[in-house]
């Protein structure tokens, strides 16, 4: 029972063409040993968007945010991306789990 919706979705995912949408708004976020550039990312509310993550630090990073539903480990030099669900207006914090003592970054959805 619990697997039924999941199975449907996976089927939907398999049937649909496996391509990321080109027109997805994209933002870049640099991680450097626990510091984020920019520290606050402004995005429009109610719309999916993509964040390109770059780890320019010397050490590994773990980009994490429960409200954004993301948890990703990046070793040094790695570039990857995440797609975030449409957000209602508000502030959504994220942080580097390997540097929890440093200030959080955040997404501001407007």
């Amino acid at each position: 029972m619990k697997r039924l919706p999941l199975a449907c979705l996976m089927l939907a995912g398999a049937v649909a063409p496996i391509t990321a949408r080109a027109e997805l708004p994209t933002y870049e976020l640099i991680l450097r040993d626990g510091h984020f550039t920019p520290a606050v990312l402004e995005v429009p509310a109610g719309q999916r968007f993509k964040i390109v993550l770059k780890n320019n630090g010397q050490g590994p990073a773990e980009f994490e945010s429960t409200p954004l539903r993301v948890e990703k480990v990046l070793s040094p030099g790695v570039t990857t991306f995440v797609v975030i669900h449409p957000l209602s207006p508000g502030h959504y914090p994220f942080f580097d789990e390997f540097n929890p003592q440093l200030p959080e970054g955040g997404i501001l959805a407007k």
């Binding site: 029972m1 050490g59 409200p67 070793s75 790695v78 669900h85």
Partner: protein
């Protein structure tokens, strides 16, 4: 130092909790020794898998942060969640006697089946967070020099000690509460962790679906938040964050997350409730 201590503690405590519960339970069974061996074999395999995954993350970082790895991690989380439930079901059926069981044959049969479950669960519990811990430790170890590195190492060891103390606290609680209560509590903890794993696996899959070109309804099902309770209990700080990690709490759940979470508790509740010590079907 505080930082490495906290991170090692946080990453290892969940695995140690699971292992502690399983070990306590397995050692009470008729085939206890065999079961415990399965468990430690699982821990050992989990450590090896952690190392392997960490090496992959560090040296094939691009590939390991991509989509395939997300699906892989989601699968790990879902399988671990399933094993948690299976293990609780198994404990539920066989944990009530808690005395040496005379039915040796049945017990041996049970040990073989359950043993494999123990092994797999211990392996997944260790390797899921274990690989991240190895990456973190390696990263800091490669960067820091001299006294800083020493402090870091001390912190990491203290993190492990802290986890062991947490575990000792759990074991110590057995003095004050009966076995029956201890196992009821253990079952609850495992089931909550199972729910947390299921939610995290579901969200990983949701994140992948969001990146694909799928019908709009899928986006709203896996994406849109049904409500926002973060004003009452935020899932990014304090208690809410703890509940997010240990029970799958979300302040802004998607429709899919809610469905899966509700389905989980319905299935688990329905499956575990009617089992009593008398009308047991053969373990399957």
């Amino acid at each position: 130092m505080n930082q490495s201590m906290f991170i090692v503690w946080r990453e290892s405590v969940e695995a140690l909790l699971v292992i502690g519960i399983l070990q306590a339970w397995a050692s009470q069974q008729g085939q206890g020794n065999r079961l415990v061996k399965f468990l430690w074999a699982g821990v050992l395999l989990g450590l090896m898998l952690s190392g392997l995954l960490a090496v992959l993350i560090l040296f094939a970082g691009e590939a390991m942060s991509g989509s395939a790895s997300e699906w892989f991690q989601a699968a790990l989380a879902l399988v671990a969640s399933l094993l948690m439930v299976q293990m609780v079901g198994w404990m539920h059926r066989h944990g009530r006697t808690l005395t040496f069981d005379l039915r040796q044959h049945a017990d041996r049969h049970l040990a073989r089946r359950g043993g494999l479950g123990l092994l797999l669960l211990a392996m997944l519990a260790v390797s899921r967070e274990g690989s991240e811990t190895v990456v973190f430790l390696y990263g800091a170890g490669a960067r820091l020099r001299g006294p800083q590195l020493g402090l870091f190492a001390v912190g990491s060891v203290m993190g492990l000690v802290l986890s062991a103390l947490t575990l000792a606290l759990l074991h110590g609680s057995r003095r004050f509460i009966s076995w029956r209560r201890f196992f009821a509590l253990s079952e609850a903890v495992l089931l909550m962790l199972g729910a947390a794993l299921l939610v995290s696996g579901t969200e990983r899959i949701g994140g992948q679906l969001l990146a694909l070109d799928v019908p709009e309804q899928v986006y709203s099902l896996v994406g849109e938040a049904l409500w926002d309770s973060s004003a009452v209990l935020s899932d990014s700080h304090g208690l809410g964050s703890f509940l997010a990690g240990f029970a799958g709490y979300r302040a802004t759940p998607s429709g899919l997350t809610l469905l899966v979470w509700l389905g989980y508790w319905l299935v688990v509740g329905g499956w575990l409730r009617p089992r009593t010590a008398d009308n047991l079907p053969c373990p399957t």
